[in-house]
């Protein structure tokens, strides 16, 4: 699915990520951990082409992201649902329209029933008409997940999706992601919530990647 070949990245100073080689195979479930500032968000941005590697290459189904036309990049992003760390909504549109945004932007028909089912699934049905700035952090993260899956993408990338959630809500969100994985979606979650990882490992064969000293390693089973 997504493949990193000897990838390095630097924001201009020293290298933040070095010599990263990795394959996310279809239907896999990965966690990405590492201390704050290790480069987890950066890694995810490399996955969907918001950033391009300073060395090596990132491919989606053997196509180099850097070589894609701008329209192909747009097309590619419709197949990768992303829960951004800072959520990224259009603050002037109600929640339900924000969740439907990938569909409307792609010119695809929007079924109101499906949309409200999706909002119920993340427990936000009653807030459908609210504007994003009026929502709590946890509500925004759940809305971001709803938007990430609305196009039924093949890959879901989530950047600290439980950062603002209490444990109960975190588990619920994890359950949603596990369900999606069982439907065949490829999942990658950046988090440093070890409890979340343990809980996931009891439900799916999840693998844990760890960024330390600029390199990506498969974390030990001590988690």
């Amino acid at each position: 699915m997504i493949e990193f070949q000897n990838v390095a990245y630097s924001y201009g100073g020293g290298e933040l990520l070095s010599e990263i080689t990795l394959r996310l195979s279809p239907g896999s479930f990965h966690f990405l951990t590492g201390p704050s500032g290790a480069g987890k968000s950066t890694f995810l941005k490399l996955c969907y082409g918001e950033l391009h590697p300073t060395a090596g290459r990132v491919t989606l189904e053997d196509r180099d992201l850097r070589a894609m036309s701008r329209d192909d990049v747009a097309q590619m992003r419709r197949r990768i649902g992303v829960v951004h760390q800072d959520c990224q909504f259009l603050d002037h549109l109600p929640l339900v329209e924000n969740v439907a945004l990938p569909l409307t932007a792609a010119g695809q028909p929007v079924s109101p029933e499906d949309l409200f089912d999706l909002l119920s699934w993340v427990g936000l049905k009653s807030l459908a008409d609210h504007l994003p700035p009026s929502l709590s952090g946890g509500e925004r993260q759940r809305a971001a997940l709803a938007r990430a899956v609305v196009m039924s993408p093949d890959v879901i990338l989530a950047d600290e999706p439980t950062g603002n959630l209490d444990w109960e809500m975190s588990l619920r969100l994890l359950t949603l992601l596990v369900e999606l994985n069982k439907m065949g979606k490829t999942i990658l979650i950046a988090t440093h919530d070890l409890n979340l990882i343990r809980s996931a490992k009891s439900q799916v064969p999840a693998r844990v990647l760890r960024i330390s000293n600029r390199r990506l390693q498969l974390a030990g089973s001590d988690l």
């Binding site: 969907y48 082409g49 918001e50 950033l51 391009h52 701008r70 329209d71 990049v73 747009a74 097309q75 590619m76 992003r77 419709r78 992303v82 951004h84 990224q88 909504f89 259009l90 002037h92 549109l93 329209e97 945004l101 990938p102 409307t104 932007a105 792609a106 010119g107 938007r147 196009m151």
Partner: protein, 301 residues
């Protein structure tokens, strides 16, 4: 070409959802309407100026009729010789198409209104007149005067219609300046709309970023901005054009003796010409906003 045609079709068809993804651009959008309106108003006047000075130049240059007269005063016994000599000089003067001496009968006819039909022309020292037709380029009047003074002292070049020649040139220049003004107005409109569009794009950088991240194509994102600014410019220019044309209509009625100022306006079918201003403003706005939007988008991965 086809993406452009598709963009134009989208522009006309409209897309409620695509319009909504960009929040109302209130102030910049109103600024665009106002700018387009004011520019259209000015363009109407520049156009009227250009058309009126064009008409004036045509009228004056045909009134010039490219004619001049030479008057020869000489003692009766030298008159025939001097006339023949002046005609010879004129034959070799560049810019003179033809020159004919008026006959006694023709001269008598010219004087008749003042002196009656029984004028004894041969006993009076009436000067002989030579009628000159110029070529389109005309002759060098000062050169001819000098030559006549040296070779035929009794001959005087009367080029009283020549004062109009610089006026015709001025009218031509005025028409040209009017056209330049229209081009400048068009350019300034494009520049101002580009600035307004850039301000709107900068104010909505976050919206554009989000749209790009969720897989919206550049054309989709640009469309919301392009449509908004083009329609605003179109509406503003329509209002400005109508007001400008009303102002022209309300100018005091022109009669031919009124001269240039009252002749400033549109006549007959030329009333159609200012109607092209709003669509042109729309096209200028479309191109300017589209270029600005794609320029901004290309900086985003």
């Amino acid at each position: 070409m086809t993406p452009l045609i598709a963009a134009l079709r989208d522009l006309l068809a409209g897309d409620h959802n695509a319009d909504r993804v960009v929040p109302p651009t209130g102030f910049t959008a109103r600024l665009t309407s106002f700018t387009a309106g004011a520019m259209a108003f000015l363009a109407v006047f520049a156009l009227a100026l250009s058309l009126a000075s064009g008409r004036l130049a045509n009228r004056w240059s045909s009134a010039l009729a490219q004619r001049a007269t030479i008057r020869i005063s000489a003692p009766a016994d030298q008159m025939a010789a001097q006339t023949a000599h002046v005609l010879d000089i004129l034959k070799t003067t560049p810019g003179v198409a033809s020159a004919t001496a008026l006959t006694d009968a023709e001269q008598r006819k010219l004087l008749e209104p003042w002196f009656g039909p029984n004028l004894p022309l041969d006993t009076l020292p009436v000067p002989r007149l030579i009628d000159i037709h110029e070529t389109a380029t005309g002759f060098d009047a000062d050169g001819l005067k000098n030559r006549l003074a040296a070779e035929a002292p009794g001959a005087v070049l009367d080029d009283h219609t020549r004062w109009r020649r610089p006026l015709v040139a001025a009218a031509d220049r005025l028409r040209f300046l009017g056209l330049i003004s229209i081009l400048l107005i068009g350019g300034a409109t494009g520049a101002m709309i580009t600035l307004a569009a850039n301000a709107a794009l900068a104010a909505n950088a976050q919206v554009i970023r989000v749209l790009r991240l969720i897989g919206a194509r550049d054309a989709y994102i640009a469309r919301a901005f392009v449509r908004r600014f083009t329609l605003r410019a179109l509406a503003g220019a329509a209002v400005g054009t109508v007001l400008g044309m009303l102002a022209m209509l309300l100018l005091p009625a022109a009669d031919d003796a009124g001269g240039f100022l009252t002749g400033l306006g549109f006549q007959g079918v030329s009333w159609i010409i200012p109607l092209f201003i709003p669509p042109l403003a729309g096209v200028v706005s479309f191109a300017a906003t589209r270029a600005a939007a794609f320029h901004t988008l290309r900086r985003l991965t």
